[in-house]
Amino acid sequence: MIPAAFEYARATSIQEAVSLLGRYGEDAKVLAGGHSLIPLMRLRMSQPSALIDVNGIQELDYVRVEGDRLRIGALTRHVTIQHSPEVKASLPVLAEIADEVGDNQVRNMGTIGGVLAHADTAGDYNTLALMLDAEIVTDRRRIPASDFFQGLMETALAPDELVCEVSFPVASGPHHYIKFRRRLFDWAIVGAGAQQLADGSWRVGLTNVGMTPVRARAVEEALAGGAAFDEAAAHASDGLSPSGDLRASPEYKLHLARVLTRRVLERASAA
C-alpha cells in the first residue's frame, strides 16, 4: 500500500518548519519518526496534503539536565533516551519506558516529540509527562501536560505549532512502569507508572484507559493519606470509563488499572 500523493518540504530550523506549516496550511503534517504517521498514510486513513520533514533540525535533538529539569529535544529518538546516561541518572523511569517503546527499528526512528504530538492514549511517554507535570515547549509557548492532552489524538497544538521540547522534573527515587501487553512489541493494553518524588509523595499514571493519558489522583491522595499500596490501588479505576477494544473490555481495563497500579507501586518500592 502506498500513501496518497503529497507535497514534501524539508525544514532545517524551527522557524523554517513553522513557516512551512503556515504556508501549506491545515492539512500539512509534521514528519518526524513517521512510525505512527506513515502506516496510517499507507492505509490511506491519513492523507495530508504536505509533509514538513523536521528530521534535519539538529537543534531539536538533545538531552540536557538543567537544575531540577530534564529537557529533551522533540526530535530525540527513543534509542537515545533508552541509553542516555543523563536520562538514566535524572529520570530513570523514562529510560525504562523508552526501552519498551516499539522495537529496535522503531526506536531508531521514533521521537519523543512525535509521540507527544500524536497523542495516542497508548503512548507511554504521555502518561509519564502527565503524571510528572512535564511541560511541552513549542515554538511559541510552554504548555503544561495537563493542558496539552485534550482528547483522542487531540492536543492543544495549533495547526502550525511545532513541539520543540519536553521538560520533565528530575526524579530518581523509587519508580516503575508496567506495560501490560500480549506481544513484546505491542502497545500497552493498560500501562501503569509510579514515581516517588523527593518529598516522599507518589505520582501515579495510567495508559490507555481513556481518551487521554490519566493521572491517578485518587491513588496519589490515598497514598498521601497513609493508605497501603493495595488499598490505594483500589482507587486506580475511580472515575475512569475506558472504551473496550480488541484486546480488552472496559471492565478488564478497569481491573488491570487496579492490579497494575498495586504492582507498579510494589515493584517501585521494592527496587
Binding site: 500500500m1 501490560f180 473490555s249 481491573h255 488491570l256 492490579v259
Partner: protein, 787 residues
C-alpha cells in the same frame, strides 16, 4: 536402497546461500518490460447488492490503462471457480463463484472491479475513484444463528445457509447405553489467517502470436492452477505455463485458485501486455482464505475404570460466502475424531454453514488440528471427571495393534503410541512436575501441565480415495529423473518447495540412489513447462511420502537400465551385476567394474543391448497404497497469572515419530514452526469482526502473529517407527507440530485453572478471556467446585 551416506544426515540446505544473500526470486522480484499493475476494488460490506459501478472517474485518472467489472471478463473467462468434493461428495448448496462479483457481494473484501495502470501508485489511486453504489443487505456470520429458519441468507437467493450436512456414521448408541460416565463439551475453533510472510502475487504475460500464456505466481501447486485457469480461459494446458518461483511460505492458503489468479492473466490477455498484482498484507488478512472457523459438539462415553467406549462429534464448519476449493477437506476432522484411541464406536456429522465471510480452506493441518484438539480436550475432561491421571487414561485406550482399522474404515499403518509418550514424560520429569504443581497450588499459583498424544493422517493419497475427492485427478505424485551423458542428474518433481527444503532432501535421496555427490544432482520444481505432465503440489505433508517415493522409483528405473547396460558392457548376465558406491561390478569380481559416469555415457552411445532405446531417464508416478500416520506426544508447562489472566509458557516438550528421517535438521525445523503456529492459535491469533461483521484485525498490529519473545524454548526428541506403506519407510512432518500443539497449551491452561472449577477454555486464551473465566468462576462457584 544403496548403502546410505546422505539420507539421514543433517545436510545444510542448498537453497540457503541465495536466500540469505537477498538473491531469492519471489514473484514481486520480477518485472517484465511494459508491465502494468493491477489493483482490486473490494466490497467494504459483509453483504451488499451492487446497484451500479461507475468507472468513469477511475478511467480518466492518470496512467490508467483499463478498469474492468465482471462483464468485461466474460469474453476471456468462463465457468465457475472450482469446488472439490474432498470429503463431502454430495453437497447441498454450492454458490457459483465468478472471480468478480456481479450483482451481489457476499463478504468484506470480495473483488468487484479491477483497475490496471502504468504504475502501482496510479492503480491504487484510481481504485479509490471507482464508485460502487451498494445497497447493504442483512448479513450472517454466527453459525448457530445462520442455521435458524429465519436467518438472513449469505446469498439472497439461497433456500437456507447449509452448504452440506453429512452424517458419516450415526451410531454410537450401544457405547452410550453401556457408559458409566458421559462428558460433553462445545469447542470453538476460531478463524485464523494463514499469514505467510510473503503475501500472494501473480504476474502474467500473454503472447497472442503464440496463443501462449505464462503466469508467475506464489503457489503451492502450479499444475492445479494451470488446470483450473487454463480451463476457464479456454487455453490448452500445453500453452498455459505456470511458474511458481521462490515462495515465501504457503501453509495451505496458496493451494486453491483465487480470483486474482484468473483476473491477472485475463487482464494480460485483454490488454496484450504483462500485468502484475501483489497482494497487500491487509488484503491477505481480509480476502485470502481463512483456516479453522469451526464449532464442535463432542460427547464421550466411558467407564469409571478409564475405558473410553464411544464418541459423538458434530462439526459446524463456517464455509464462508462460497465453498473454498478444498474447503470440504476440513471435514476430515470427523473421520479421525477418535484420535489415537481404540473407540468401539465413533459417530460423526459435518454441517457446513454459508456465512458472509471470506471462505475457509485448508490451513496447516486442515481438519487434523481440530480433530486432535477436540479429542485431546475431551479425553482430559473425561479423565478429570473420573479422577484419573490424563496419562493413564490415554495409555489405557491407545490403539496398540497395527494396522488398525478405525470406525470409518481408515487404516492406521503403523505406530507405537506409548513410546513417544514415555519419552516425553521422561524429559519433562512428569512426576516431579506434578509435585511442583501441588506445591504451587498451595501457594495460590496456577501451574498447568497439558498433554497432546496426537496422530495424523497424511501423504495424500491413494488414487482410489483421492480421484473422487478432487473430482477426477488422483493425488499421486510424479518425478522425472534425467541423467546426462557425463553423469550429472536433473530431477523434476511435481511437488513444490516453499520452505520445506526439497532442494536438499530430494537431492539426498537421488544422490544415494545413484551413488552420486549432492553437487551432481539438481532438483527442479515449480515450472509446469518442465518435467512430468502433471505434478500435484505440496500440502497435506505429502511431498516426501508421495513425491519422494516417485523420485526414488525413478532413480530405481535409472539404475535398473544402467545395470543392464553395464551387464552388456561387462559381458555379464544382468542379475550378476551389482550397483554399489556409484559403480557397477560383476558379482564376485570387483575389478570387472564400470563407474556410473561410464555407463551414463554409454547410454547415449552405440552398442546398447538390442531391445534397448538410447538415453537414460525415467518417469514415475507413485500411487501410495495407503495414507501414512505420524504420531507423537507433546507436553506444555505454563503458569497463569490469577490476577491478570496472562499466560507464561515455561516449557514445551515434543517427541514425534514421522517414520524414517531423510534430514533430521529439516524435520526439526518443520516441527519448530508447526508447534509455534499451534501455540499462536492457542494464545494469540484470531480473525475478529465487530458487531456489524466488519474485520477488526486487518493488520499485523491486530492480527497477533507472535514474536520470538512469546515462545518458550522447545525441547525435542524423536522415535522412529517406519511405515510399511512405502519403501523409504517415511511419513510426513510438515503439519505435525501444528496438529499437536494448540491442545497441549489449552490442556495446560485448563489444568492450571482446574482448582477454580474451570473445565474448558476456548481459543485464543487471551488474558481478557481467562480473566473473565476466572472472575466468573470465583463469583459463581465455591472453591473446589467442578463445573
Amino acid at each position: 536402497m544403496a548403502v546410505s551416506q546422505l539420507v539421514g544426515a543433517r545436510i545444510h540446505r542448498r537453497e540457503d546461500p541465495r536466500l540469505v544473500s537477498g538473491r531469492g526470486r519471489y514473484v514481486d522480484d520480477m518485472t517484465l518490460p511494459r508491465t502494468a499493475y493491477l489493483n482490486v476494488v473490494r466490497s467494504p460490506h459483509p453483504h451488499a447488492r451492487i446497484l451500479t459501478i461507475d468507472t468513469t472517474a477511475a478511467k480518466a485518472a492518470p496512467g490508467v490503462t483499463a478498469v474492468y467489472v465482471a462483464a468485461d471478463f466474460d469474453a476471456v473467462l468462463s465457468g465457475a471457480m472450482p469446488v472439490a468434493p474432498a470429503f463431502v461428495a454430495e453437497k447441498k448448496t454450492v454458490p457459483d463463484r465468478f472471480p468478480l462479483a456481479r450483482s451481489e457481494a457476499c463478504f468484506e473484501g470480495e473483488p468487484v472491479a479491477v483497475v490496471v495502470a502504468e504504475t502501482k501508485e496510479q492503480a491504487e489511486d484510481a481504485a479509490e475513484l471507482v464508485e460502487v453504489d451498494y445497497e447493504p443487505l442483512p448479513a450472517v456470520w454466527d453459525l448457530e444463528a445462520a442455521l435458524a429458519a429465519d436467518s438472513p441468507r449469505a446469498h439472497q437467493d439461497l433456500a437456507d445457509n447449509v452448504a452440506w450436512d453429512l452424517t458419516y456414521n450415526a451410531d454410537a448408541d450401544a457405547s452410550f447405553a453401556e457408559a458409566e460416565v458421559t462428558v460433553r463439551q462445545r469447542i470453538q475453533q476460531q478463524r485464523l489467517a494463514p499469514t505467510p510472510m510473503e503475501p500472494r502475487g501473480v504476474m502474467a504475460e500473454y503472447r497472442p502470436q503464440d496463443q501462449a500464456m505464462t503466469v508467475w505466481m506464489s503457489s503451492q501447486n502450479p499444475h492445479f492452477i494451470r488446470l483450473f485457469v487454463s480451463g476457464a480461459m479456454g487455453i490448452p494446458e500445453n500453452r498455459f505455463r505456470v511458474v511458481s518461483p521462490d515462495v515465501g511460505g504457503g501453509f495451505g492458503c496458496k493451494i486453491s485458485p483465487y480470483p486474482e489468479d484468473y483476473l491477472v492473466p485475463a487482464a494480460a490477455k485483454l490488454l496484450d501486455r504483462p500485468v502484475k498484482w501483489i497482494e497487500t498484507r491487509t488484503e491477505s488478512v481480509q480476502a485470502t482464505t481463512h483456516g479453522r472457523g469451526q464449532l464442535y459438539d463432542v460427547e464421550l462415553a466411558g467407564k469409571r475404570d478409564g475405558t473410553m467406549l464411544g464418541l459423538k462429534v458434530t462439526q459446524y464448519l463456517d464455509a464462508g460466502a462460497y465453498v473454498g476449493t478444498f474447503g470440504a477437506f476440513q471435514a476430515v476432522a470427523c473421520l479421525v475424531a477418535g484420535g489415537a484411541y481404540d473407540f468401539r464406536q465413533v459417530a460423526s456429522r459435518t454441517i457446513a454453514v454459508l456465512t458472509n465471510r471470506v471462505p475457509t480452506d485448508p490451513y496447516r493441518g486442515a481438519g487434523r488440528p481440530e480433530a486432535t484438539h477436540l479429542i485431546e480436550r475431551t479425553v482430559d475432561i473425561f479423565a478429570r471427571e473420573i479422577g484419573m491421571d490424563p496419562v493413564e487414561v490415554r495409555r489405557k485406550n491407545f490403539v496398540k495393534e497395527f494396522p488398525y482399522t478405525n470406525p470409518f474404515e481408515l487404516v492406521y499403518d503403523s505406530g507405537d503410541y506409548d513410546k513417544p509418550l514415555r519419552r516425553t514424560l521422561e524429559i519433562a520429569g512428569y512426576e516431579r512436575l506434578r509435585r511442583e504443581q501441588e506445591e504451587a497450588r498451595s501457594q495460590g499459583r496456577l501451574l498447568g501441565i497439558g498433554l497432546s498424544t496426537w496422530i495424523e493422517l497424511c501423504g495424500f493419497g491413494p488414487s482410489g480415495a483421492t480421484a473422487p475427492a478432487t473430482g477426477g485427478l488422483a493425488l499421486t505424485e510424479s518425478a522425472h529423473v534425467r541423467v546426462f551423458p557425463t553423469g550429472s542428474v536433473t530431477a523434476y518433481v511435481g511437488t513444490h518447495s516453499h520452505g520445506q527444503g526439497h532442494d536438499t532432501t530430494f537431492a539426498q535421496i537421488v544422490a544415494d540412489d545413484l551413488g552420486l555427490t549432492m553437487d551432481q544432482v539438481e532438483i527442479r520444481h515449480g515450472d509446469t513447462a518442465e518435467g512430468t505432465a502433471f505434478g500435484y503440489g505440496t500440502y497435506g505433508s505429502r511431498s516426501l511420502a508421495v513425491g519422494g517415493i516417485a523420485l526414488h522409483r525413478s532413480c530405481q528405473k535409472v539404475v535398473d537400465k544402467a545395470r543392464r547396460i553395464a551387464a552388456h558392457v561387462l559381458e555379464a548376465a544382468d542379475e550378476d551385476v551389482v550397483f554399489e558406491k556409484g559403480a557397477f561390478h560383476v558379482k564376485g569380481s570387483p575389478d570387472r567394474s564400470k563407474t556410473f559416469g561410464e555407463i551414463t555415457f554409454a547410454a547415449y552411445g552405440m552398442g546398447l543391448p538390442e531391445d534397448m532405446e538410447l538415453g537414460l531417464e525415467a518417469i514415475s508416478y507413485f500411487d501410495p497404497p495407503n495414507l501414512v500416520w505420524p504420531f507423537g506426544a507433546h507436553l506444555c508447562l505454563l503458569e497463569v497469572d490469577p490476577e491478570t489472566g496472562a499466560v507464561t509458557l515455561l516449557r514445551y516438550i515434543a517427541v514425534d515419530d514421522c517414520g524414517n528421517v531423510i534430514n533430521p535438521m529439516i524435520v526439526e525445523g518443520q516441527l519448530h514452526g508447526g508447534i509455534v503456529q499451534g501455540i499462536a492459535q492457542a494464545l494469540f491469533e484470531e480473525v475478529a469482526y465487530d458487531e456489524e461483521g466488519r474485520l477488526k484485525t486487518g493488520t499485523l498490529l491486530d492480527y497477533m502473529v507472535p514474536t520470538a519473545n512469546e515462545i518458550p524454548p522447545i525441547e525435542m526428541d524423536r522415535t522412529v517407527t517406519p511405515t510399511p506403506v512405502n519403501e523409504l519407510g517415511v511419513k510426513g512432518v510438515g503439519e505435525a507440530g501444528t496438529i499437536a500443539s494448540s491442545v497441549a497449551v489449552i490442556n495446560a491452561i485448563c489444568d492450571a485453572l482446574a482448582p477454580l472449577g474451570i473445565r474448558h477454555v476456548d481459543m485464543p486464551a487471551s488474558p481478557d478471556r481467562l480473566w473473565n473465566l476466572i472472575e466468573h468462576a470465583r463469583s459463581t462457584a465455591p472453591q473446589g467446585g467442578d463445573r
